[in-house]
């Protein structure tokens, strides 16, 4: 397993590795648990999400292999077509691997042992494609003329294994004849086992060379009577690519059925729902980190796998950089860990921003106690951690509750997706947000049918059943709201008497005229106020919580630097401030000044920033030797003439050219052209 070794690697080089050994191993185990939990959940999620499509694909393969054995008229007529499943998976190519892996696993488990998946990059020519398919189906090394002469001896032994489907045919016949007992015992089930189909999965159809694919299909169709072949095309864009890639004469050899997978945004929504919007994992991301991860997803790759990787990275960084992360674990363990905290860690707790804020609110005696008495601090910490857990337990149900209310408002003031609402809440206290206020105003104006109360109540109930027993009062109040909302309607229905009805209608009319609220309006306001109070008490921003630093990972810059690298910015930073990378004290300078001791390329780069579009090489060299000679205390004149320095200069210039800052030009002799704008 790779992960533990990675963690170990991290901890060996940990700057604050002076912690006690027990704490360290504890930390490691904790992280491991965390990771494993997350992994299991992700895998389960993935399988769950893909279940529908995988099931239908399995059905498809089963049906295809069974119809081959029937001999009714229709299937006989279709015998010459190769059954093909076109699986549309969306443009998030990095995610596909997992889907294909579970697909081929499932196929091998339940339908056929013969599954081969091929990728475009390993099949440049027909020969290679053929070889890969044969290798994977037959599990042997296939003879190939291109191979080294050294393999001559081994090749001599199985000379007959040549790269052609006739070899496969012979192999398949031998394979299926080997197990005759299946035939006799159960004729019905045995049918399936007798000739299991050969499934070939093309993982990325778009990337395949169309010529190669066409030829391969043509060859396969020649053998379809002898081999029960089946294709699965993995398509990233749209099914019409099949028509773009294959001419009619080839595509008419296929019997294509279309399978569409879930869209990646839905996928992401589920992952966020299960992984982030849950008190199950104590580890949390703060608003900025979430924003970075989500924007990478939406703007760049649509890849759920990369999103999960991003969370893992944040987790790793959190446990690596925050010593207090020992407390970020399950409740019992956290409470236990508090008791094991060393004096150093307690000092760290005292330094925390949120803790300082907490201390300020206490009375003076308590403040002194907190700063001097370690055992007292530990007790308080236990209490605070319990509070934090309680906060999380309440936060998510209320968040969902608010989302159900606001997600159907016109123009979506609080966002369409729950993740948007979550981001707003993470940022600051939501009730201070203008959008929240406007949403509340909108809610107060909604008519009864718009507010579809039954619908929402049922949703609330669902949420309530999901959340655990920690919010019984919540359920109770909801019940109250429900009762009071439905009762006036019931009352109205009871009054079947015409006179009575007229009276009530008049009453209602009157009440409206006198700007008195109708019972519905009163109730609505009451309910909304209740929800507002819930929001205010439970949806405060996590930064206001004491000890939030233990659970929340905050360094969005690190995540961004790791996941969304900017090579050009790094190059420019390196050239401008070499100290940033080299960490040599001699290179430390004021802003904008070239240190004489900087590498040649940095000096040359700084000098070239002062020039216009065309740079005279001679002037440049002169300026360079002035700078360098000042550093080495030589006479500039001598330095300028020395061959050594001009060689260094030329090397630096060619390095700059390699990095794409300048290029040679024919407009003027002895000049080079700048390719970037701006400068000093």
């Amino acid at each position: 397993n790779l992960w533990p070794s990675i963690f170990q690697g991290c901890f060996v080089f940990k700057p604050s590795a002076k912690k006690k050994k027990t704490a360290l191993s504890l930390d490691f185990q904790q992280i491991n648990n965390h990771q494993q939990n997350m992994f299991c959940l992700c895998k389960a999620l993935q399988d769950e999400l893909n279940r529908n499509i995988l099931d239908s694909l399995l059905d498809f393969t089963r049906k295809c292999s069974s119809t081959r054995q029937h001999s009714d008229w229709a299937s006989q007529m279709r015998a010459s077509e190769i059954p093909t499943a076109a699986l549309v998976l969306g443009v998030n190519v990095p995610d596909h691997d997992m889907t294909f892996q579970s697909l081929s696993d499932l196929l091998q488990q339940s339908v056929t042992p013969h599954v081969a998946s091929v990728q475009a990059k390993e099949c440049g020519a027909l020969k290679h494609l053929m070889k890969r398919v044969l290798e994977r189906l037959m599990d042997t090394v296939v003879d190939d003329e291109d191979e080294e002469e050294a393999e001559q001896t081994s090749a001599q032994l199985n000379k007959s294994v040549h790269c052609s489907l006739s070899t496969l045919c012979a192999w398949y016949n031998a394979k299926t004849k080997v197990s005759p007992p299946g035939k006799k015992r159960c004729s019905h089930v045995g049918d399936d086992l007798q000739s299991p189909p050969l499934v070939i999965i093309f993982k990325d159809l778009e990337a395949f060379n169309p010529r190669v694919l066409q030829d391969f299909i043509l060859i396969c169709s020649r053998y379809i009577e002898r081999l029960p072949l089946m294709f699965i095309f993995g398509i990233a864009t749209s099914p019409s690519t099949i028509q773009h890639m294959l001419p009619h004469s080839v595509s008419s050899l296929l019997c294509i059925e279309l399978f569409q997978s879930l869209s990646c945004t839905q996928h992401l929504a589920t992952v966020i729902d299960k992984l982030i919007l849950t008190p199950q994992f104590p580890f949390k991301l703060n608003g900025k980190v979430m924003q970075v991860l989500i924007s990478i997803f939406l703007y760049h790759d649509f890849s759920v796998r990369n999103f999960i990787k991003g969370i893992q990275l944040a987790l790793l960084e959190h446990f690596h950089s925050q010593p207090l992360s020992v407390l970020c674990c399950k409740k019992k363990a956290a409470l236990l860990n508090v008791m094991h905290l060393g004096p150093q860690d307690l000092e760290r707790i005292r330094q925390l921003q949120s803790f300082k804020r907490y201390v300020e609110k206490q009375d003076p005696q308590e403040q002194v106690n907190l700063f001097t008495d370690d055992t007292h601090l530990k007790e308080v910490c236990q209490k605070l951690i319990k509070n934090l857990r309680q906060y999380h337990k309440n936060y998510y149900p209320i968040l969902r509750c608010l989302h159900t209310l606001t997600s159907s408002l016109p123009r979506y003031p609080l966002g369409k997706q729950i993740r948007e609402l979550h981001l707003i809440c993470l940022d600051k206290n939501i009730w201070e947000n203008e959008d929240y206020q406007s949403a509340m105003k909108l809610l107060k104006m909604l008519a009864k049918d718009q507010l579809i109360l039954e619908d929402m109540l049922s949703k609330f109930k669902q949420l309530d059943s999901k959340s655990d027993s920690s919010t019984p009062y919540f359920a109770f109040t909801l019940g109250y709201v429900e009762d009071s909302i439905t009762s006036p309607v019931k009352n109205l229905q009871k009054k079947t008497d015409l006179f009575q009805l007229q009276k009530t209608l008049l009453e209602m009319n009157e009440s409206r005229r006198s700007k008195k609220l109708s019972p519905f309006e009163a109730l609505r306001n009451e309910a909304l106020e209740f929800i507002d109070s819930l929001v205010k008490s439970h949806l405060s921003a996590p930064e206001s919580q004491t000890l939030n630093e233990v659970c929340y990972y905050t360094s969005s810059a690190t995540v961004r630097r790791h996941l969304n690298a900017t090579p050009r910015t790094s190059i420019q930073a390196a050239l401008n401030i070499p100290y940033y990378y080299l960490q040599n004290d001699r290179l430390k300078t004021e802003d904008g000044i070239v240190s004489n001791a900087a590498p040649d390329i940095c000096i040359v780069y700084k000098l070239h920033l002062e020039c216009g579009r065309l740079i005279n090489l001679y002037d440049w060299l002169e300026a360079y030797s002035t700078v360098v000679s000042a550093a080495e205390g030589n006479d500039p004149e001598l330095m300028f003439l020395s061959l050594f320095s001009s060689a260094r200069f030329i090397r630096a210039v060619s390095e700059l050219e390699f990095l794409g800052f300048i290029k040679s030009t024919k407009q003027k002799t002895d000049h080079v052209a700048r390719l970037t704008w701006g400068g000093c």
Binding site: W73, M77, V93, L126, I219, R222, F297
Partner: protein, 433 residues
């Protein structure tokens, strides 16, 4: 009918079987039979359109008359070694094939063949049938001329039969070669098609009735398709509608009623099944569904919409703009304070024709990025993932790289998507705003 297939060398019975399996191809089969004899011509070249029965005729003839033959498909033979091996395998068995050295040359093949041939001399003429012979033109230059006079080279009674959809004139190498005997397979006529199609009738209908059904089917499809293979696929795709009709009306002779019932189905099938927009299996399912509710099944080309990440969308839009606008106009379109451009001579002569007719033009990476930055409203950091998105657009075949893969310096691209696609993307983008 069978009188055409009378040949002294073969038994009457097997000839009868052959003629049963080759409807409407008796003439060609007869000619071939007369060419196949004790002493044969070195090479025969047969050409005709797709599915005009070339391989079928040869396959049936050689199989039923039990003549020694080696069927080879040139598509399958990626290398000449495979070709040689298959020929030797089917003539002399696996032992002979294993005598070939690694990456054999033509002379190796001839040597092995002669050796084997002297051990087991031919009693009858041997035949090598090469399908899709047009691919031989791309093989080594000496292969085709050598195959044409293989008889002389190996000194055996062997005939090479080449099957192709292309006429012989396109094959002739410039160095000249032995001229094979040319034989043309003409297309089937409408009557012949009907005759052949009626052969694979569903066992539960009478021949006459099925034939009239085929007649109706041909009436609709003959104008768009004369390919037998395609047409054979149709009757069973239409099977469900047909059986429904047959169940409802007992009288099998009423062809007029059959026509009225079937025509709408056929017309609909022309748009989907014929173009393989919908596979026959799905079509069948759909027909069954239709009995209950008329849910339209969308074909493959109906799904053209592609969901793309935000920046990929803009990259694609920028690529489209770069491909279809001349570079000179960039300043005018994408800069806020562009200089005035004189209206006269603004458009060169060739630019007056619509750029959409001329197709996409290649553009360098720099230009793509410059347009991209000016099209996207917000500031975008030039991160590595922007560049990786460009390459993933290339693998998705929405962009094509024009320059060679090895050229890292200034790669050039072309936009490979249509106006419609871009408009659709743009629509989504507007929706987001």
């Amino acid at each position: 009918m069978s009188s055409l297939l009378q040949h002294p060398g073969h038994e009457e019975e097997s000839l009868q079987r052959v003629s049963d399996q080759l409807p409407c191809r008796e003439v060609q089969a007869g000619t071939l039979l007369s060419l196949m004899g004790q002493y044969s011509y070195p090479s025969i070249f047969i050409y005709g359109h797709r599915s005009s029965g070339k391989s079928h005729v040869l396959h049936v003839l050689l199989k039923e008359l039990e003549l020694p033959h080696a069927p080879v498909s040139c598509v399958e033979c990626v290398s000449v070694a495979l070709l040689f091996e298959q020929v030797l395998l089917s003539f002399f068995g696996a032992d002979a094939a294993s005598l070939l050295p690694r990456s054999p040359s033509l002379s190796d093949f001839v040597r092995v063949y002669r050796n084997q041939c002297s051990q087991s001399p031919a009693e009858q003429t041997r035949y090598i049938v090469m399908e899709k012979a047009e691919l031989l033109r791309d093989a080594d230059a000496n292969l085709l001329p050598a195959l044409l006079r293989l008889q002389e080279l190996v000194e055996d009674n062997v005939t090479v039969i080449l099957l192709s959809e292309i006429v012989w004139d396109k094959f002739r190498p410039n160095t000249g070669c032995f001229e094979p005997l040319l034989l043309h397979f003409p297309d089937y006529s409408k009557g012949e098609l009907q005759h052949i199609l009626s052969h694979d009738r569903h066992p539960s209908y009478s021949a006459e009735f099925y034939s009239s059904y085929i007649n109706i089917l041909l009436g609709v499809f003959y104008s768009v398709c004369r390919d037998l293979r395609e047409l054979r696929h149709l009757p069973h795709a239409m099977n469900v509608a047909f059986t429904c009709f047959c169940v409802s009306s007992v009288k099998e002779t009423d062809t007029h009623k059959l026509w009225r019932n079937m025509e709408p189905h056929l017309k609909k099938a022309m748009q989907t099944v014929y173009l393989r927009e919908v596979s026959s299996l799905q079509w069948e399912k759909m027909q069954q569904m239709e009995e209950k509710e008329s849910g339209a099944l969308r074909g493959l080309s109906a799904h053209t919409h592609v969901e793309l990440p935000y920046y990929s969308k803009f990259l694609l839009i920028a690529a489209y703009l770069a491909s279809y606008n001349p570079a000179r106009t960039d300043k005018r379109f994408f800069l806020k304070h562009h200089g005035k451009i004189r209206k006269t001579n603004f458009l060169k002569k060739n630019e007056k024709t619509s750029n959409h007719l001329l197709g996409p033009k290649p553009f360098p990476l720099d230009r793509l990025l410059a347009i991209f930055y000016s099209v996207v409203d917000s500031r975008v950091a030039p991160t590595a993932s922007i560049f990786s998105q460009i390459s993933s657009l290339v693998t998705l075949q929405l962009l094509t790289q024009v320059s060679h893969d090895d050229q890292l310096d200034a790669p050039k691209y072309k936009c490979a998507v249509s106006m419609d696609f871009i408009c659709h993307l743009y629509g989504i983008y507007k929706h987001l705003l």
